[in-house]
Structures are given as structure tokens and as C-alpha cells.
Amino acid sequence: MADEREASGHCLCGAVRFTATLVSHDVQVCHCGMCRRWTGGPLMFVDVDGAPAFEGREAIGIYRSSEVGERGFCTRCGSILFWKVAGEERYTMAAGSLDDASRLALKTEIFIEDKPGFYDFSNATKKVVGSEAMGAYISGSGETN
């Protein structure tokens, strides 16, 4: 019986492909200024159980955006791939990079205090401030991502 949490994905140009085991199909949205600058809008992501398996690693660019976070993207087409905890194999994948979005459900909005006023989601979500959200990824973290 196939594990429903098994997922695959790729960037726009196909240079980078991955498979991963999702923690769940719950999508989080990050409104922080870094994620909005990095993606053009809020970052939608899913949590991964363990590290993804990548093909085309040589095309992955990593930008160390803060003390605690690294941002992965395709250097050929610019596609946003993942945010991960710096120095750890703790990944979150961009929801748009997944091949199958059919089971995804938007559940949580994080860094809600940074959200600009010009857009809102109508989904019924849990809204969380940044410090509380980062606690799930880094113990003792108070800021920056």
C-alpha cells in the first residue's frame, strides 16, 4: 500500500527533481518580509519528514538568509524549492514545487504580524506570530528566518 505522504516535485525547468515524505498535507503560509521578497508573495510550504532525495543537486543554489535559515532555489530557472534549518536536515518544501497538489489543505498562516494589508486568504486558518512559529523549527529561536 503506497504511503500517501510520499510526494514528488520539480522546478520549472526540470533541472532539479525531488522525492520526499511529507509530515502531512497541511500547508502553511509565511507572510514575513523575507519570504515575500524571496517568492514575490507569501511563501506556501509543507513540512518534510527527514530530508528529500534530490536529482540535479548541482543546479540547486542555497542562500543563507539568516542565522537560522537557508533558502534553496534552482539556479537555472529561479524556482523556489525549499526553506530549511541551517546546519540541519530539516526541510520545508515550497507547495508550488509539488507534482500533486490535490490533497493539500491550507491550515496555518505564520508571521501574521508581518502580513501587508493588500491581500488576505479566505481559508479558515490558524494564525500564528513569528516567534511562536519558529519555535517549531528551532528551540530557543526568537526571530529571523
Binding site: 514575490g40 508573495g41 534552482c74 529561479g78 497538489a101 481559508n123
Partner: protein, 106 residues
């Protein structure tokens, strides 16, 4: 999320811009160092859509339109009162705008 622009653009750090030709009619530019999307450009025109997140001043932005709504996955919805266009409608509107530009420029 993009902001439409017609005309000249001045860049600093242009050597860091990566351009990916994503289709016959458009290209996507991003920073090669960090992946930040910068703009979508209608090939052969002065028409750009600049990434809203990259703008220094976002205070006056208004979210007015969604395009390619026929490809939107079901798991999210925006609450804003937007004009919603399918991909075909959006591309037709863009082509209509480009044709006006050609006619104007002679």
C-alpha cells in the same frame, strides 16, 4: 504577485540577473545569488510584471486581479474582491495591449 510596468527599467547589479525563457512569449528574471524573482517580461516588448515582494515601498499596493484562475489549485482562496481571468483571457488581454503598443510605435 506582480505589478505591471510599461517602459524603461534601470537595474543595478544586472550581472546577477538570471533569465529563464519559460515559454514562447515570456521570460522570468531572478537573482542568481538568492533566487528572488524580479520580473516576468513579455518577450520583445516593454511590458514587465515586477514581483510585488521585491518592491521597496509596498504601501500603496492594491490586489485587483487574479489570472490563470483555471489552473489555481483548490486548497487556497484569496478573500479580496478581484477580477478573475483564466489563462486564455489573460493572454488575450496581454496580446491586445501589445498590439496597441505596436500600432502606437508605428
Amino acid at each position: 504577485m506582480g505589478l505591471m510596468h510599461e517602459g524603461e527599467v534601470v537595474f543595478g547589479g544586472a550581472e546577477n540577473i538570471g533569465v529563464y525563457k519559460s515559454s514562447d512569449w515570456g521570460e522570468r528574471a531572478f537573482c542568481k545569488l538568492c533566487g528572488t524573482p524580479l520580473y516576468w517580461h513579455l518577450s520583445g516588448s516593454d511590458t514587465y510584471s515586477f514581483s510585488a515582494g521585491a518592491l521597496d515601498d509596498q504601501s500603496g499596493l492594491r490586489f485587483t486581479m487574479e489570472i490563470f484562475v483555471d489552473e489555481k489549485p483548490a486548497f487556497y482562496e484569496f478573500a479580496n474582491d478581484t477580477l478573475r481571468l483564466t489563462g486564455a483571457e489573460a493572454m488575450a488581454a496581454l496580446a491586445g495591449g501589445a498590439k496597441s503598443e505596436e500600432a502606437r510605435d508605428g
